[in-house]
């Protein structure tokens, strides 16, 4: 009961792990490229949640201005923006050429 009433770092880590797994399942099983990209966003957000929770934990040890985890989370958000822009650009080019959005129809490089 005590674990339910007191939110610790581990609670956030478990939630992050659950979101990460949902994202992995989405990436591995969906055919629609748009939803695969959204699943990648889910994965990145799970990592961000872990980073901010660790930042909180680190603050408890090293003082209030030890915000390295939050800085890292901001860098991850920057990366996510870049990844989304390039990924959606590739998606538009792909849709123009093949008239489909299904990943398993991308087989030009398949041996």
């Amino acid at each position: 009961m005590d674990a339910m009433l007191h939110i610790s770092t581990l609670h956030y880590l478990v939630l992050g792990a659950a979101l990460f797994l949902l994202g992995v399942i989405g990436v591995l099983t969906r055919r629609n490229v748009v939803i695969v990209l959204m699943s990648i966003e889910l994965i990145l957000n799970a990592v961000n949640l872990n980073l901010v929770a660790f930042s909180r934990y680190w603050q408890g040890i090293h003082g209030p201005s030890a915000l390295h985890g939050q800085v890292f989370a901001i860098f991850v958000i920057t990366d996510a923006a870049a990844e989304a822009a390039v990924g959606l650009g590739i998606l538009i080019a792909f849709f123009r050429n093949k008239e489909t959005v299904n990943v398993d129809e991308v087989n030009l490089l398949k041996w």
Binding site: M4, H6, T9, F20, L42, R56, G60, A84, V101
Partner: protein, 177 residues
């Protein structure tokens, strides 16, 4: 020692919102519905950032993620035709393998999070009751300050990355260069 910013009830509420949103993202047929579920997840996560005393990251999450990246997603969904994709098979042939791989990964997570060394779990009770500080100023000091700014170079590299991504996106999406 300040009290926590919100009661555990809010953590469980936001966590449930995030999990339900995540499940909807990967199960909906219509990509627009998936995008809406993802926006819900991102906003709930911003609430969790606030509970972790990270107001700047929460603001960035709402403005950049829910407001910027998801609008980009919705634009692209509107550009490509989704009517045909809705009628097709939604899951690929390897879905069983994918679920098994994810289950193995989940087992790994559970194994790590329940590992005990000397009777304690790896991530013990953090001192999570640290008070609110000048969060945004502290982040800015880490990013830009001459003395303590150890992430200044990484910040510049991030701007270069964004430039490359902009050029890459234009090159990819343009019909003829």
């Amino acid at each position: 020692m300040n009290p926590p910013v919100a009661t555990p009830f809010f953590f469980y509420l936001l966590a449930a919102t995030m999990i339900i949103g995540g499940v909807l993202v990967i199960t909906r047929k219509n990509a627009v519905h998936s995008a809406m579920a993802l926006i819900t997840t991102l906003l709930a996560q911003a609430g969790l950032y606030l509970m972790l005393y990270a107001p700047f990251v929460a603001g960035v999450q709402i403005i950049l993620y829910a407001g910027g990246i998801m609008v980009l997603f919705l634009f692209v969904i509107m550009l490509i035709s989704i009517e045909r994709a809705e009628k097709e098979r939604q899951f690929n042939k390897q879905w069983l393998v994918g679920v098994i791989a994810a289950a193995a990964l989940g087992g790994l997570f559970i194994a790590v999070y329940t590992t005990t060394t000397r009777g304690k779990v790896l991530f013990p009770e953090g001192r999570m009751t640290y008070g609110e500080t000048q969060n945004t100023q502290a982040i800015a000091a880490l990013l830009f300050d001459r003395g303590a700014g150890q992430y200044m170079f990484a910040f510049e590299i991030a701007s270069l990355l964004l430039l490359v991504a902009i050029i890459g996106a234009v090159v990819m999406a343009k019909k003829r260069i």
